[in-house]
């Protein structure tokens, strides 16, 4: 019994310690002076790796999610004879929820895991230690560009996802199922508010970007430098990041749309 309570206390301390180390890592990586020119180039490199290379998966899944929304929404709305509201349904569910959340989940799987594995391998092969040896701060050189690249890329990816999704919904709804194009777009424009819906969606995806990238770089920087450790840390990145995204989504939604 005593042993169990001890274990509980120990694991709590470990968790709080982890959180503290993660916060310090983030703080040291992004705060303070940095050589803007050099790091900007490194950041562009990383935007290519996490953003541009994720484009195909984002566009394809956005298209199909939009098409499924169009199809499902049509069958339900047609029962009530209000299939004109299809555009509104597709656009609102994409801008408010599906766009930011699904993009963040895909991003965690596609780019987050890669970040963790890359930094982890650098640690395992002692590249990080060598950098420190020659007087280069690995937090600034390795972690900060990756963090900023994630924070910049994810909102852009989310915008692309939502746009492609709306076009996919229009493709199925208007071209295949015969909803009137005028009422599809007019209903959409009448019900979607830029600040309330689109902009709140962007805020959401910025928050998700910080959370996902932070988890990914921390897990990579803090792992046990063995092949097993890298495997575990990569798994943890995807699991923690996905859970954090869904959890934060609830609270953000409650704050943004709760009182309506």
């Amino acid at each position: 019994m005593i042993e169990r309570i001890r274990g509980l206390g120990r694991s709590t301390l470990v968790q709080v310690g982890d959180l503290g180390r993660a916060s310090l890592l983030l703080f040291q990586a992004i705060a303070g002076r940095s050589q803007v020119g050099v790091h900007w180039r490194l950041t562009i490199d990383q935007i290519y790796a996490v953003g541009v290379l994720s484009l195909s998966i984002i566009i394809v899944s956005g298209l199909f999610i939009g098409m499924v929304l169009g199809l499902q929404g049509y069958t339900i709305l047609a029962d009530y004879g209000s299939e004109q509201a299809l555009g509104q349904m597709v656009a609102l569910s994409l801008t408010r929820e599906l766009g930011p959340v699904v993009t963040a989940l895909l991003f965690a799987g596609r780019a987050g895991s890669a970040l963790t594995a890359e930094i982890g391998l650098m640690k395992a092969t002692e590249q990080l230690a060598s950098l420190e040896m020659i007087g280069v701060d690995p937090l600034r050189r390795v972690v900060a560009p990756r963090f900023w690249a994630g924070v910049i890329s994810l909102p852009i990816l989310s915008l692309i996802f939502v746009s492609v999704g709306c076009l996919g919904g229009a493709l199925v709804g208007v071209s295949w199922l015969g909803v009137d194009a005028g009422s599809f777009w007019a209903n959409m424009q009448a019900s979607v508010d830029f600040w309330n819906d689109v902009f709140n969606g962007i805020i959401k995806s910025v928050v998700f970007a910080v959370v996902v990238t932070w988890i990914a770089v921390y897990q990579g920087y803090d792992l046990v430098p063995t092949s097993e450790g890298i495997a575990r840390a990569t798994t943890r990145t995807v699991v923690y990041a996905s859970l954090a995204v869904l959890c934060f989504d609830f609270f953000l939604t409650a704050v943004m749309f709760g009182e309506v």
Partner: protein
């Protein structure tokens, strides 16, 4: 040392993001229609606005001419004051214009319909319409119908 292709693709990525933002702003949320035009504000007093919401359409002869921007209870007249922003292009509503709360379809959203009277003077910013027709509350209609059919027997 630094690949030109990489720079180009990152640039294209950011431009694509900007295009998508513009698409969402213009095509999906219709920001231009709401934001660009000048409007003037008129108020209408209704006995009952059940179901009307802010951002509801204001239409004249079926054409959208403005939006509802505020609904509040007015204790003095014991009614609801509905504030509407009308686009400045449509500035020829006569002083005796009447406003009624209509429903799009049987169960659709509520909107305000304006019907123009014959007065040569026109409504300007800050005017109040008192000649109004309130929302049809479906429950009241059904209740009245049931009462009538009960008394017939």
């Amino acid at each position: 040392m630094y690949s030109r292709r990489l720079e180009l693709s990152v640039g294209a990525f950011v431009v694509l993001g900007a295009i998508c933002l513009a698409f969402l702003a213009l095509e999906v949320s219709g920001l231009t229609q709401a934001g660009r035009q000048d409007t003037y504000r008129i108020t209408a007093r209704f006995d009952n606005v059940a179901g009307l919401t802010t951002r509801a359409k204001v239409s004249a002869a079926g054409v959208t001419v403005g939006r509802v921007v505020g609904i509040r209870y007015d204790a003095q007249t014991a009614g609801a004051m509905v504030e509407m922003d009308i686009q400045s292009d449509f500035d020829a509503f006569s002083l005796d214009t009447t406003a009624s709360i209509l429903t799009a379809g049987l169960l659709g959203e509520k909107y305000i319909g304006l019907s123009i009277g014959g007065d040569p003077d026109v409504l300007v910013d800050g005017d109040v319409i008192f000649d109004t027709q309130s929302a049809v509350v479906l429950e009241e209609l059904i209740g009245r119908f049931l009462m009538n059919s009960g008394s017939d027997k």
